[in-house]
Symmetry: C2
Subunit: 244 residues, 2 copies
């Protein structure tokens, strides 16, 4: 079994939206912090990974939300480096509340990107061994993400503040663009129940992105999203929604 780590986190007001609930970008920031802590603890932090000329990138999240924690709540953030194959590492995250009730489960796929040519590299044994993850041969595909067939979109300019230490738009920021198109009234009245999101291409500073979307009113209410730079598909997501 892969190593697990649990950290506590108190949800700050500034990590919440106007309704006082944790935002999707902050949800991801908080869980990623726990995986960084685990990597540091095992001597496999960003600096160690950089010695191989590599950096971690996230290629997919599958998120199940029972409820989003609220401002001032203390939560437990747990991560487990579950398994890996030649190119991908699979890591789970959980958020539990003070009563040990599960709030959120996130299954994630990590890959290693070569810092020079920005291409995916294979996973060195030396880098992954301390996590005691199960070695598998299968590539997990995850549920199919349905495409957007409509032509409605809003345009966003990548801001300096969207760029992270990897010199590209941080994965968490795609949610700003995907959610914002749904509008204030919808977003304060609904909560995401599940999200499948796949990151296909990096978005860089200077890019203008188009956030395409399509809405499915029929139960279960859902939305489909694509982030494109010109014709290039950079990320895609399907979200199931419930009314608050």
């Amino acid at each position: 079994m892969g190593k697990k780590l649990t950290e506590t986190h108190t949800i700050n007001h500034y990590e919440c939206d106007t309704t006082g609930k944790l935002t999707m970008p902050m949800l991801l920031n908080i869980v990623i912090k726990t995986s960084e802590s685990q990597s540091e603890e095992l001597g496999r932090g960003a600096k160690f990974v950089a010695k191989y000329g590599l950096t971690w990138v996230i290629t997919r999240y599958d998120i199940q939300i029972k409820r989003l924690p609220q401002a001032q709540e203390k939560v437990f953030v747990t991560t487990e480096a579950v398994s890996y194959n030649k190119y991908f590492c699979y890591r789970n995250f959980w958020i539990h509340d003070e009563n040990k009730e599960e709030c959120v489960l996130i299954e994630s796929t990590f890959a290693l990107m070569n810092l020079e040519n920005r291409k995916m590299g294979s996973v060195p044994e030396k880098l992954i061994a301390p996590f005691t993850s199960e070695k598998i041969t299968k590539i997990k595909r995850g549920a199919k993400i349905l495409p957007v067939t409509s032509h409605q979109f809003l345009n966003y300019r990548v801001r300096f503040s969207d760029i992270d230490g990897n010199q590209h738009v941080n994965n968490s920021r795609y949610f700003d663009w995907m959610l914002d198109v749904l509008g204030y009234d919808f977003l304060v009245e609904h909560e995401a129940e599940s999200v499948a999101i796949k990151f296909d291409k990096e978005v860089e500073y200077g890019n203008e992105i188009n956030s395409f979307w399509e809405f499915e009113q029929e139960e279960p209410m859902s939305s489909r999203h694509q982030i494109k730079v010109g014709d290039l598909l950079c990320a895609e997501a399907n979200i199931k929604w419930r009314k608050n």
Copy 2:
């Protein structure tokens, strides 16, 4: 003397920009958190203030930056409710590093906004008394903020994620718009040394803002900023810069 409170905070990667330094929006989020903690401790939290039909808003920051803390650094965040008059409360914030060296000093002006008509109200004694701030009659004006005389601007759409619990754009977000216009290359090579920023009018969801700016190359290198919705001036700032 006004009551002081110090909290520790470890700077997270997701609170930093691509260079690994704390961002201006996060700097403000982190210090405001400490003033919220102090208010809660003294039984004067947001809920208590809301009983008067009021909410705190920030009208001005004067920020002196010796250096911005970096990812993983542990810092001490201190706040003091210094003084107040009929309409304004003056609060200082400091960030010190582990060696007790001052990194940042922020002088701030708070006012109380009526939640119904969104107008400023006077400061009720019952609300301010526990902070033991000095009562003054003078209104602190702060250094004059020079206007922008050029016509260059970039346009930004207010995103859902910019809106806070007060149903307007959070004060910290104005920095995203003001800084972004200066461009990636400038921002990774320079650090703000001092900032004076004044918030004149609320910006709401649905607004499109124009971020005007003007740059002064002569030493000390500085930039002037205005955020406008149509002809309405919503915020203005002067920033002095130094090379990294």
